[in-house]
Symmetry: C2
Subunit: 320 residues, 2 copies
């Protein structure tokens, strides 16, 4: 019997087709997801899922067919019981009949993948930021993930917004001059910093546009720009503070908490990882590379929900 | 001959019909403006202006007719030469023929009104925040006004976003517990703070929705809530820092800078004015009530552009 694992993010939707034993048969991609509450959110979810699922079956040279279980880790889904999860469940049921549908926030899928379903935590900093932990008693802990307008500190969007703010502050004489001014001017191809405002508020800029500015902060910081270094330190410190709050809510008093860093910001913002480790201070954690990518976490969620031997499947996934 | 003064903000558009000597004949209101770069921004500008102009003429029992000058202070217009100003000029020309059209950012109209065209400055904190000064040599100075995503510190939107962030931080155990949690739950009529996220990101919430939360910060601060007091102090300090930067860019070394506080946040956020005055420290300013409302500033801009005696007109406006 087959299992589908789906990782639905803002940029793209990935689907993987596996056997119940964790052997990969094919993978496929679809478009990104909008927030499900957004006007065309459901239409977008349907088309992105359909595209990714079809591609995964095609890659396995199989027709789209009923599966034993589907696991979905989706951005914008608060938890398995939220209205968004219900919506997504209904949509996915139409696309592929399945005996079991496991659905969760994409952070939870990342967590299951990172520690193969064992207790531990992940610090996700991609477009947005969120920390998720699985306690030894099986309970989930979640910190952050409040979105780009009032949260997501230390995410790519947060760094991009901070960069723009710093450039305007420098122009106004409120903040120190910064190399970010030149970097942003070059990024947008404009001479006049004032004209940046118009670009930042364009309808199609939004969270993704700000996220694309994040690497500039790391670059300027690496070139010893004080303002960029402050932003980098502030973002790293916000993530470390969140990690401290997460640690308190976990039950790892006796041993170091396994912690995996996941998401594009860790790769694309030079120096973020080092600043974060420094800001963690004496916190008793054990930094680890994630064992499996989030999409395998979603598949593990599905396999577990179907009652099959998910630990055995996880071993096979690792051997791929 | 007649003159029109127009104050176009995000919430409403006000129009006043006056004689060239500054005597008010009628006033009218129209809908609010979207950013002119927004999809239906121009359509909205046209209908809101038309509505307000028609109402002002009607209030004066006059048919809509050509005027000698129109002055417009519009939100979203960077300055008299920006593309948005060109757009607005074309739209208003279609509605009412005029010999002269004066158009500026709404902050400049507020400044002209506040100090009757004399040198001085205004600190505007409404939905957004911006500081504008007129130097003794006639040059304009502008600080802030970078919009709600990357600026507008100390504005109603900024306070509302800070309040939501504080509530989530308290929930996550990153920040201290705060009375804002209860106040926000009551404001939205929800039991579960987590469900606030969905409401804050609803398509029709946005800047205006956050601005409506600002008074809660003042209320909680007045009731000795530490978190709210910190937010209040931080917002006030950001406005004071902007005022310091503005002061440096002005040419008032020998005398105190006349400074008027304008905008809804000063009224609706209890304690903001006192915190701001405290944060100003030793800065040599003379706080003053604005002589005239922004709409009269727009009319003064028009009268000045037409070459008439605008100082005389200003006196008559004050006598109304």
């Amino acid at each position: 019997m087959y299992v589908l694992g789906i990782d639905g993010g803002q940029t793209s939707t990935k689907c993987i087709l596996l056997t119940l034993e964790g052997h990969t048969l094919g993978t496929g991609n679809g478009g990104g997801l909008l927030h499900l509450a957004a006007e065309s959110g459901v239409t977008r979810l349907r088309s992105s899922l359909q595209e990714a699922i079809k591609a995964a079956f095609e890659a396995a040279s199989l027709p789209v067919q009923p599966v034993c279980a589907i696991g979905l880790g989706l951005t914008g889904v608060e938890n398995a019981e939220s209205p968004e999860a219900e919506l997504a469940r209904a949509v996915v049921r139409e696309l592929v009949p399945a005996e079991r549908i496991w659905i969760e926030n994409d952070g939870v899928a990342a967590l299951l993948g990172a520690h193969l379903g064992a207790a531990g935590a992940v610090v996700i900093s991609g477009t947005g930021s969120i920390l998720v932990g699985l306690r030894q008693d099986g309970r989930l802990v979640r910190i952050g993930g409040w979105g780009w307008l009032v949260g997501d500190e230390g995410s790519a969007v947060w760094f991009g917004m901070a960069a723009a703010r710093a450039v305007f502050h420098a122009l106004d004489g409120i903040g120190a001059p910064t190399a970010l001014t030149t970097l942003l001017r070059m990024h947008f191809g404009v001479d006049d910093v004032r004209s940046l405002k118009r670009l930042l508020y364009a309808a199609d800029f939004g969270a993704r546009g700000f996220a694309a500015l994040a690497p500039l902060v790391g670059r300027a910081a690496a070139e010893a720009d004080d303002v960029a270094q402050s932003i980098l330190a502030e973002g790293a410190s916000a993530l470390a503070q969140a990690a401290q709050a997460l640690y308190k809510a976990m039950d790892f008093a006796e041993q170091p908490l396994p912690l995996a860093l996941i998401g594009g910001a860790w790769e694309h913002v030079p120096g973020l990882r080092q600043s974060f480790e420094k800001a963690l201070g004496q916190l008793s954690v054990q930094l680890r590379a994630p064992a499996l990518a989030p999409i395998y976490g979603a598949a593990l969620g599905a396999i577990r929900a179907s009652g099959a031997d998910w630990r055995y499947a996880a071993q096979n996934m690792q051997r791929r």
